[in-house]
Symmetry: C2
Subunit: 175 residues, 2 copies
């Protein structure tokens, strides 16, 4: 496992828009709208969720810690806001929006010139209680990756039957 | 779930090199060499494994089905050949090699002008027994995605401790 370092975290966060772009832009609609069953998300849904996070979660919470510490809890994050916000949009629009917001947010973070000591600054999560700025940054990184995991798992599972006997070698299909 | 269609399958297969490139090229070494513990693979290892698949697995087996049907079993696939083959190479070299091989292999597949009836043609897997050409193609697609899942899971898990109490929201970290 790795200790949080700002440069490492930024190197991952900066790559997510292009990774999603390479995987999803121009993909046939059935892949983009596929999911894992009722109440699960499609690749299209996930991009909208990541956009909402850029707007309302990561940087706003980081600012809250810097300005108010743990005196005020973060605004709760709406995990399903994208079902309304993404309506009528194309995947290209969503990918462009995500790339722009992520780029702006990383600029904001770089401009703060955070030092390792800042990672210990405390905030208050409305459900989890006390958290630190470093934990927030690490979660931003890990959260991106969990949703890349989800998108590739959703795609793979569309062929769970089509792979026939190979299914036993592909553990993700049985998730 | 989706029925196998050649255009859908190719649309995913064609995107994997650029997806890996966006995620991994230029990434700090600790991310590229990170894994999930003994006997597990790093992102660097996975790219080497995908290269070996392009060379010895997917298209060679497809040709075997077209030329010999189920009269001869496929050559067994060496899942860990990359530990030797990738030695001394950089991630940039591996990404370039994978992109070239994948592009050539998709050209080969397109040139075969496979029809849906070809998906039923049978081959013989050395361990799984009878399989079809369609199952082989679907497995190629799903296999790419399982390894994208793996890479993002490995990256996420490096911060399993650093995320603090958020860990309970990030199921992938407990895999």
């Amino acid at each position: 496992m790795m200790k949080l370092q700002l440069a490492d975290a930024l190197s991952i966060l900066a790559r997510t828009p292009a990774t999603l772009d390479a995987l999803l832009r121009g993909l046939p609609g059935p892949w983009l709208r596929a999911n894992e069953g009722p109440e699960t998300w499609s690749p299209f849904d996930v991009v909208g969720h990541l956009i909402h996070g850029e707007r309302t979660d990561w940087v706003p919470r980081l600012r809250m810690i810097l300005e108010h510490g743990d005196a005020r809890p973060f605004e709760p994050f709406d995990r399903i806001a994208m079902f309304k916000e993404s309506q009528g949009k194309s995947i290209s629009e969503l990918l462009d929006t995500f790339a722009t917001l992520r780029s702006q947010n990383l600029e904001t973070v770089r401009a703060l010139q955070l030092k390792p000591a800042d990672f210990e600054r405390r905030g208050l999560h409305p459900a989890l209680g006390p958290v630190t700025l470093g934990q927030l940054l690490a979660t931003w990184v890990a959260h991106d990756q969990t949703h890349l995991v989800q998108i590739s798992r959703v795609i793979a599972k569309q062929y769970a039957d089509e792979v026939g006997p190979w299914r036993q070698y592909l553990g993700v299909l049985n998730h």
